[in-house]
Symmetry: C2
Subunit: 197 residues, 2 copies
């Protein structure tokens, strides 16, 4: 996520710090004190802005989702007009992001594994986050179907849901193998083979 330029914006500094620490160490291994230290604010400030660690995590998932949406917009701005090529372009950028951030993975996937059992609030926010990405991808797949570039025997939403699940699984393997090869493998098989008519 981009850093805030406004040093007086305590909630933003906390969510940025939380995002970095949660992505690197996970939810349970990260304490409020550590988040406050990373943000450079007193620990007491945390509870002026967030009711609980759980509510804070939910706010970060929301922010991360919005940030991925903005990154997706930016990718689309210089993507090829043809929808299948646009999907390949967008996922190519996502893969580059994961290489640049040393294969730490996707906050939503990591939290799905770690906190969806213990937090109904986070689970709801995670569900909305995944649905928003899946719907957006389904839109592009639907356009590609209309052009005859993608098989028409499975709905765009079913294909998109499958693609996103496979992507999240590849992100897990990326974390284990510490290489983006699983991401490239998944995108290559889906786009070059499984989506084809």
């Amino acid at each position: 996520m981009p850093r805030t330029a406004d040093k007086t914006d305590i909630p933003n500094r906390l969510t940025e710090a939380g995002y970095l620490l949660f992505t690197k160490h996970g939810y349970n291994a990260t304490g409020i004190q550590q988040i406050a230290d990373q943000a450079g604010v007193p620990k007491g400030s945390f509870y002026n802005h967030f009711d609980s660690k759980e509510a804070f995590a939910a706010a970060i998932i929301d922010r991360y989702t919005a940030w991925v949406g903005q990154a997706w917009d930016a990718c689309m701005a210089d993507a090829p007009g043809e929808p299948l090529a646009a999907i390949e372009h967008v996922f190519g950028r996502f893969i580059q992001h994961h290489a640049d951030t040393h294969c730490q993975g996707c906050l939503v996937g990591n939290f799905a594994a770690e906190v969806s059992e213990s937090s109904t609030l986070c689970r709801d926010v995670l569900r909305n986050s995944m649905r928003s990405w899946r719907d957006r991808l389904a839109g592009l797949i639907g356009q590609a179907q209309q052009r005859g570039q993608v098989r028409g025997d499975i709905s765009a939403l079913d294909l998109s849901t499958f693609f996103w699940d496979a992507w999240e699984g590849a992100l897990l393997r990326m974390k284990i193998e510490h290489t983006t090869e699983p991401l490239r493998h998944t995108v290559r098989l889906v786009l070059n083979h499984f989506l084809r008519p």
Copy 2:
């Protein structure tokens, strides 16, 4: 995992307790005291048998992998002889297991998300675990290719690797949506569509 009948077998009681707690709450949210309490043994016993929580987790991943292998053997014992039908049978049983255990997910996938960044030891064991399943599935896919039931333009190992990644991603979505529908969706699309010649 099956419970040990031998109450004096402290290491087994600890690993069974650890498996249950790690699967439900995750690695970092589970303490040694909690594991000892669940196992019904004094906390001091833990360090008589395991050097660290990390080494304990690695031992549990190994045991879980062996247990999945045994469950797979048991499924194959009453599976149809035809390889594609056998794959469907095995995954059907896996899906039933996840329904029976209330969608808590796969220990290997959960740990991949939570501890692969912080523990090289666990990451190595997780990698071996995933590879063993992927190789076993590749064997069945290869047999199905020889019978012309599965496409031959992608190697059995590449198909198996992809299938397993998609499965782990579907397990994450299962945890978020609290239903095994993502598992059924993934297996259905892979077996009925994407693997087909």
